[in-house]
């Protein structure tokens, strides 16, 4: 009974973001991942919710009307709350990043970001925070062990390169989503790789071949002009 409760317990996320449009975009995207999203548009609201309730992950904008997100972080730390925290900040300053991570934030994502990247980071935080040992990400016959960084297809291990592994995991946590080539390139190589991103085709082709060979099905669809989509089930 209790185990069932644990299993079914929805993943709760608090989105602290003062920009309503961005807030709603994040909530819409993450809502599709079966997360329960709550939002807080200002400092006071955010502090109240963060201190009163438990969340699996708090997405925290640092510059809020009424105060700094860092203060909320300090408060959580003082209360020894275990919520995962992902800082999203437009302030491109290194100080914020260092301060945030020192205060116990799990990750830092500068704006602007791809929603798929945000979703991948949130998923990683939740996996790390989850003590029920759920380090396995599954999709159909594909199982990724995020601790051992290994992949099995229909129970058989498959050798992937580092980038292929990152690519597969990125697809799996963003399943049924169309991922643009830019988002994929930035996930794999960071923000700094400007220029033509068509080379990503080679990586996807290789990964697709390995999965098709091992799992007997093509899970990655090319969406004309837009990017790629991973579907399982």
């Amino acid at each position: 009974m209790f185990r069932d409760f644990c299993k079914k317990r929805p993943v709760k996320i608090l989105i602290v973001e003062d920009e309503p449009e961005l807030c709603s975009s994040i909530a819409t995207y993450l809502g599709g991942e079966n997360y329960v999203c709550e939002t807080a548009p200002d400092f006071k609201n955010a502090l109240d919710k963060a201190t009163l309730f438990d969340y699996d992950c708090i997405i925290l904008d640092l510059s809020l009307p009424g105060g700094s997100g860092l203060s909320i972080l300090k408060e959580l730390k003082a209360m020894e709350k275990m919520d995962g925290v992902l800082i999203i900040s437009a302030k491109n300053s290194l100080d914020d990043k260092v301060a945030g991570l020192t205060l116990g934030a799990d990750d830092y994502l500068p704006k602007p970001f791809h929603l798929s990247e945000l979703s991948a980071r949130v998923a990683a935080i939740i996996r790390r925070r989850n003590f029920s040992g759920s380090n396995l990400v599954k999709a159909g016959p594909i199982i990724v062990d995020t601790v051992a960084k290994s992949v099995t297809l229909q129970g058989r291990p498959v050798e992937l390169t580092r980038k292929e592994y990152q690519l597969l995991l990125y697809f799996m946590v963003n399943r049924n989503r169309v991922l643009s080539k830019n988002a994929i390139v930035e996930h794999l190589w960071g923000e700094d790789l400007e220029g033509n991103v068509d080379f990503i085709y080679t990586h996807i082709k290789n990964l697709r071949k390995k999965i098709t060979d091992g799992a007997g099905g093509d899970f990655i669809k090319s969406i004309y002009g837009m990017g790629y989509k991973f579907t399982a089930e």
């Binding site: 920009e19 449009e21 961005l22 975009s25 994040i26 819409t28 995207y29 599709g32 510059s63 437009a90 302030k91 491109n92 300053s93 290194l94 500068p110 704006k111 602007p112 970001f113 791809h114 929603l115 798929s116 390169t161 580092r162 980038k163 292929e164 989503r177 169309v178 643009s180 830019n182 988002a183 190589w189 960071g190 923000e191 700094d192 790789l193 400007e194 220029g195 033509n196 991103v197 080379f199 080679t202 990586h203 969406i223 004309y224 002009g225 837009m226 990017g227």
Partner: protein, 419 residues
């Protein structure tokens, strides 16, 4: 040349000139006075001779001594009366100069030329003594001047040197107000006031620029984040092919815009020296990490990467900027390469050399380091990568050079060994 030395040199030179001229004037005037005195005593002698002639109708006895001489020669009425200085050879093994007066004298109808002489020896002695004293005074004055300049000026100018040192050590990014030594000298107090006012103003403006940069980044990036997120949501909906293409084009443009914004912010921040904090960084380590990052990308394009990394390549700089420097050079080398080409990275004790195959440059390579200049007409390149590299090099005083030889682009960064 230090101000003090310059001052010393000028002061001493002026002192020497004044004293030399003074000495000469002194010499000439003393000599004139003494000569006049001698001449007057010669006139007295002349009068005595004339008196003797008038009284006794005969010339006095000729005399000849070291001090005084009287001689008579046959003469005429036209014999001129004149003073002169004469040299009479050695007396007591010294050069003997005499002042003499010649004059005509009539003794019982016969004309004589009388000559009276007096030794100038005493005069010479006096002048010599005067000169010696003058020289001694010059020497003493010079020593005194030098000592005064050393001691007093050094002390007087100390507030100035202290302010200068503070100015040299002044760091805008440090954010600390300048602490200047108080001084009782008006000029220096005014200088200090002006300097600290300027420093305060510079710090204020620097902070303003810094905040503007951060705010600009914030203000630009939030709308960009909204745009990009809405487009991504639009991606997930059912679109027909034409709509999908429009959305993809929009997403690509927004992506470019946000990268452009980030690059510009990075450039401004380097410009504003907002990357404080140096530490010793092994370039070999940075290159290895970045190269590993692109391993599979290089493989996909069949680009061969060869590394010659020496652990002696150590630079004192901000860690983030070291990463950006290597990353930008490397992505540049990948971007402007042929499929199947090669990249070579050398890290030595004082330089980093990155060379890659690629099409020859189409214009003066120097312009690649300028903002928004691109070698190719590729629309996906921002042309900011190399100007960021240049800016970083400039900020740390590194020397950067580009050349194209034997079909290879080569960028060389030379850095000083850490102290």
């Amino acid at each position: 040349m230090r101000l003090l030395d310059k001052y010393n040199r000028l002061g001493i030179l002026a002192a020497i000139c004044v004293l030399l001229v003074g000495g000469a004037v002194y010499y000439v005037s003393i000599r004139a006075v003494l000569t006049r005195q001698l001449d007057q005593s010669l006139v007295v002698e002349e009068q005595e001779i004339r008196d003797e002639v008038t009284e006794h109708g005969q010339l006095p006895e000729a005399s000849y001594s070291d001090e005084e001489q009287e001689e008579y020669y046959p003469g005429s009425a036209t014999t001129p009366r004149r003073f002169s200085s004469v040299y009479v050879g050695h007396v007591h093994s010294r050069h003997a100069y005499f002042r003499q007066l010649e004059f005509p004298v009539n003794v019982a109808g016969a004309w004589y030329r009388a000559v009276v002489r007096k030794s100038e020896e005493k005069t010479e002695d006096l002048i010599e003594l005067t000169l010696k004293i003058t020289l001694l005074i010059i020497a003493l004055l010079l020593v005194a001047l030098f000592a005064i300049n050393r001691l007093v000026l050094n002390r007087l100018w100390r507030p100035f040197y202290s302010t200068l040192r503070k100015l040299q050590q002044f760091n805008l990014a440090g954010g600390q107000a300048m602490q200047l030594e108080p001084t009782s000298i008006n000029e220096f107090r005014q200088l200090n006031e002006a300097v600290s006012q300027m420093a305060t103003q510079a710090v204020d403006e620097y902070n303003e620029v810094k905040h503007f940069t951060e705010n600009a980044s914030h203000e630009m990036q939030t709308p960009l984040a909204i745009l990009s997120s809405k487009l991504e949501l639009l991606h997930q909906t059912e679109l027909d092919e034409a709509q999908a293409q429009h959305v993809a084009a929009l997403a690509g443009t927004v992506n470019r815009l946000s990268k452009l914004n980030q690059s510009l912010i990075l450039l401004t921040r380097i410009d504003n020296r907002q990357f404080a904090g140096k530490r010793s960084i092994s370039l070999a380590g940075v290159v290895r990490a970045q190269a590993a990052h692109f391993e599979e990308l290089l493989l996909a394009r069949d680009i061969r990467l060869s590394l010659e990394l020496s652990d002696s390549g150590v630079v004192d700089m901000n860690e983030t900027l070291a990463d950006v420097l290597v990353l930008n050079l490397l992505t540049n080398a990948i971007k402007h390469n042929f499929d199947g080409g090669s990249i070579r990275i050398i890290v030595a004790s004082h330089q980093l050399v990155m060379s890659n195959t690629g099409a020859p440059p189409t214009e003066d390579p120097q312009v690649y380091f300028e903002r928004f200049r691109k070698g190719s007409a590729r629309p996906d390149s921002l042309g900011l990568g190399l100007s960021i590299v240049k800016k970083i090099c400039h900020a740390y005083g590194f020397f950067i050079r580009y050349d194209f030889t034997e079909g290879e682009h080569r960028v060389t960064v030379e850095f000083p060994r850490p102290s």
